[in-house]
């Protein structure tokens, strides 16, 4: 089974620029998550999709962050405009039904540096 694919692996942008990240979950996984991991912190959920619907976006800074999962498969996360404090690793994860008893499968992440 192929893992969760994310691109790009690294991105450096200037503050106030925009950036987009892409995620392809494991085939058949209905639930997709975007997490933000700031250096020295644990991952923090930004948004959860079930198929192409949003289940939880309570911690997504909606004034600058947006995410979509149009066909219930791939997803993109966008930041516009970026701030210095957005420097972090952005992790995408997926699970079969949203049942986290056995854990999510994470991608390798996109490391964003805002300068």
């Amino acid at each position: 089974e192929a893992g969760v694919a994310q691109s790009p692996r690294y991105k450096i942008i200037e503050k106030r620029q925009s950036v987009a990240f892409w995620c392809n979950p494991i085939s058949g996984h209905a639930t997709l998550y975007w997490y933000q991991q700031i250096l020295g912190q644990g991952p923090k959920l930004l948004i959860q999709f079930q198929n192409n619907g949003v289940v939880d976006d309570s911690q997504l800074p909606k004034d600058r962050f947006s995410a979509e999962r149009l066909k219930g498969v791939d997803s993109t996360l966008k930041i516009q405009p970026a701030k210095l404090e957005d420097s972090a690793v952005y992790l995408c994860a997926s699970s079969r039904t949203g049942d986290s008893n056995y854990g999510y499968t994470f991608g390798s992440g996109t490391r964003l540096t805002v300068v």
């Binding site: 969760v4 998550y33 020295g40 912190q41 644990g42 991952p43 923090k44 959920l45 959860q48 939880d56 992790l91 994860a93 949203g98 049942d99 986290s100 008893n101 056995y102 854990g103 999510y104 499968t105 994470f106 991608g107 390798s108 992440g109």
Partner: protein, 115 residues
């Protein structure tokens, strides 16, 4: 307000000895606890979980112990191997009114196993 706490940022252990990683939590509504392992430049990978109705779960060299009265769990690795060197995240899943919440992660503990 940190609901899941890993108070030791790092731990160093000799190969062959036991590694004990600790995690404390504050929310009584957590029903599942999970441990993830993360190597540099990779996403976290699920290691082992435990339901709140149990006090121990074992999988090979890895055992998780849960003490609900103390709101404390620990991960034991016996014997420790150099390949176990990684950052270990404790995560907890809240359960509110019949619905599962999303995982809440601690800040992680960096384990170094020395040959």
């Amino acid at each position: 307000d940190q609901q899941v706490k890993q108070n030791s940022p790092s731990l160093s252990v000799q190969e062959g000895r036991i590694s004990i990683l600790n995690c404390d939590y504050t929310n009584s509504m957590f029903d599942y606890f999970l441990w993830y392992k993360k190597y540099p430049a990779e996403g976290p990978t699920f290691l082992i979980s435990i339901s709140s109705i149990k006090d121990k779960n074992e999988d090979g060299r890895f055992t998780v112990f849960l003490n609900k009265s103390a709101k404390h769990l620990s991960l034991h690795i016996v014997p420790s191997q150099p390949g176990d060197s990684a950052v270990y995240f404790c995560a907890a899943r809240p359960y509110y009114g019949g619905s599962q919440g999303n995982l809440i992660f601690g800040k992680g503990t960096k384990l170094s196993v020395k040959p």
